[in-house]
Symmetry: C2
Subunit: 367 residues, 2 copies
Amino acid sequence: MSLDSTKLEITTTEKPSPLEKKEDLKFGQSFTDHILEIEWTKENGWGIPTIKPYHNFQLDPATSVLHYSFELFEGLKAYRDSNGKIRTFRADKNMERMNRSAKRASLPTFDSEEFLKLIDKFLIVEDRFVPTGKGYSLYIRPTLIGTSVGLGVSAPTKALLYVIASPVGPYFSAGFKPVSLEATDYAVRAWPKGVGSYKLGANYVSCIEPQVEAAKRGHSQNLWLFGEEGYITEVGAMNVFFAFKNDDGTKELVTPPLDGMILPGVTRDSTLELCKSKLGKEWLVNERKLTIYEVKERANKGQLIEAFGTGTAAIVSPIDNIEFQNEIIKVPVDAGASGELTAQICEWIQNIQYGEEEFKHWSKVAK
Amino acid sequence: MSLDSTKLEITTTEKPSPLEKKEDLKFGQSFTDHILEIEWTKENGWGIPTIKPYHNFQLDPATSVLHYSFELFEGLKAYRDSNGKIRTFRADKNMERMNRSAKRASLPTFDSEEFLKLIDKFLIVEDRFVPTGKGYSLYIRPTLIGTSVGLGVSAPTKALLYVIASPVGPYFSAGFKPVSLEATDYAVRAWPKGVGSYKLGANYVSCIEPQVEAAKRGHSQNLWLFGEEGYITEVGAMNVFFAFKNDDGTKELVTPPLDGMILPGVTRDSTLELCKSKLGKEWLVNERKLTIYEVKERANKGQLIEAFGTGTAAIVSPIDNIEFQNEIIKVPVDAGASGELTAQICEWIQNIQYGEEEFKHWSKVAK
């Protein structure tokens, strides 16, 4: 059976939990009252979707997700607009990516539109958990895991697609706080023909040890380099952008191209589209390879204007400092705690997310 | 607290399950009656080790193992010797690797000797599940997962180290059956400075889709190539060996070196040590890079003698066929279903595993 949202069965909790104070919200720490689940078997396809009270999973110790990393996820948010409606932002892009990830992980794919309808219904059930206020949102975590039991290394014959959600506050609760990076070339996040462009759990585990090492040296994230050329790929678990000015007065916004090593971030894509659409003629917006050496050289010439990461959690995360081979590359943060463009992009995206500006139907009211 | 085997608490099942018929045993499908578990918290370290009746885990849907692949494992076996004793084979190598994996995965490390003592005690409890007969064994699966709850991408603050076990029959129940490989260059298993040399779940998920694709073309495994040079790295989830003869009558056994992309297999290491110790002077035993082009060229010259994979499950897995760029490289299997050396290595290793031959204290009686 294919995924069918009309078959949804809802059992609401008898013990609604109290809402946390907005100022106490921490990313991914407290969850809403329910979970959306759809089981899949190779034999019968997708089963009856259910929304039930949030509960633990009962997993056999030999379940495939625990041994061979049959797991992938998405991250998106629901926003409360000024009319009190719940909105999602480009959720179709998340579904497209989730299906790409599922295929690559030998897990079942699904009808994106049906799953989006189910997520909407889940959001309606969890309405009271979607906070009000710019910067506040309900973080939604669709997850797909392999649930067949057995130690043979083969494609799962059972799987579980589920959604949990966590109310979150602004990533930068007191305005932007720029981050310091360690340019990392002793560990490599992704490789050509590898799986770095898929949102698999497998891409995350190996990034923690280098992050802990960078933290010991006072940096909050890794700037992932690739190859002897020092190609810049991503920052922490975000895409990365650099802005340069040229001597002739033109400016360039650069992010690495989707060459198989880069996660095709929704905020990355939105940043590119918005900048191409809204920035003045002096700006070139380019997806192209760039190296840490170019960044260093142009910083030395005073041509590096700003740099930032993009991702669903923070939207943009300004960078003020990059350590590479014991040298510090200073990145200007002319608007105080970020560059002007960084702040501008954040505002553009937030305005669309909260329904204050219409742009290409990116924001949709849940119903 | 550090891991302490003397604190072990044992609760045996009240419902012992019937033993499966030896001919019905399938790899990793049925399990023994108990599970060995040790919880870890960042705050208190390793807790009280327990052996309890096999049971499901209760996992919150936001548990870190389900999202960011905080998971790793080992595979080793217990063998019944002719005196009825239970033996393990080089389990210290598995522990060394497991601790390496744990560190890389930002999961807690542990005292290997204490864990080995616990595994021995677990084996004594599960005595009746260790089958008799050459080729039969109890497959042991130590596993370590991150169990802290929350969606922040950071090192787990809780973890669970556990052991389950599955009685297994001979990998090749009716004598060797050589496998056909597809030399795979459109996907890569591992890369320099990546995590291919650690036994993380993350290394397995991405190998299934290419395996399914290879199967569609009639091949049972992928021969993983790396780089434009076509370096041979591994076969399926095994290490790989090639044997060549030279015009001067000398012979060479080659396996790729441990350059960070290769899993340091216990059977790989045992094969190298045994061959260095037992093969005649005409043999060179080398860890060196080799390419698919060398294999092809030497096969064409009649210099390729045999090829095989090594791993705990099969010990050796003979190869008779490699497809590369639409050409077939035939690999001789002169001893019928394998080469002579392949069969010899299998016998050497089995004799040690079952306690029929003493070699460097590789086989230890569980007590």
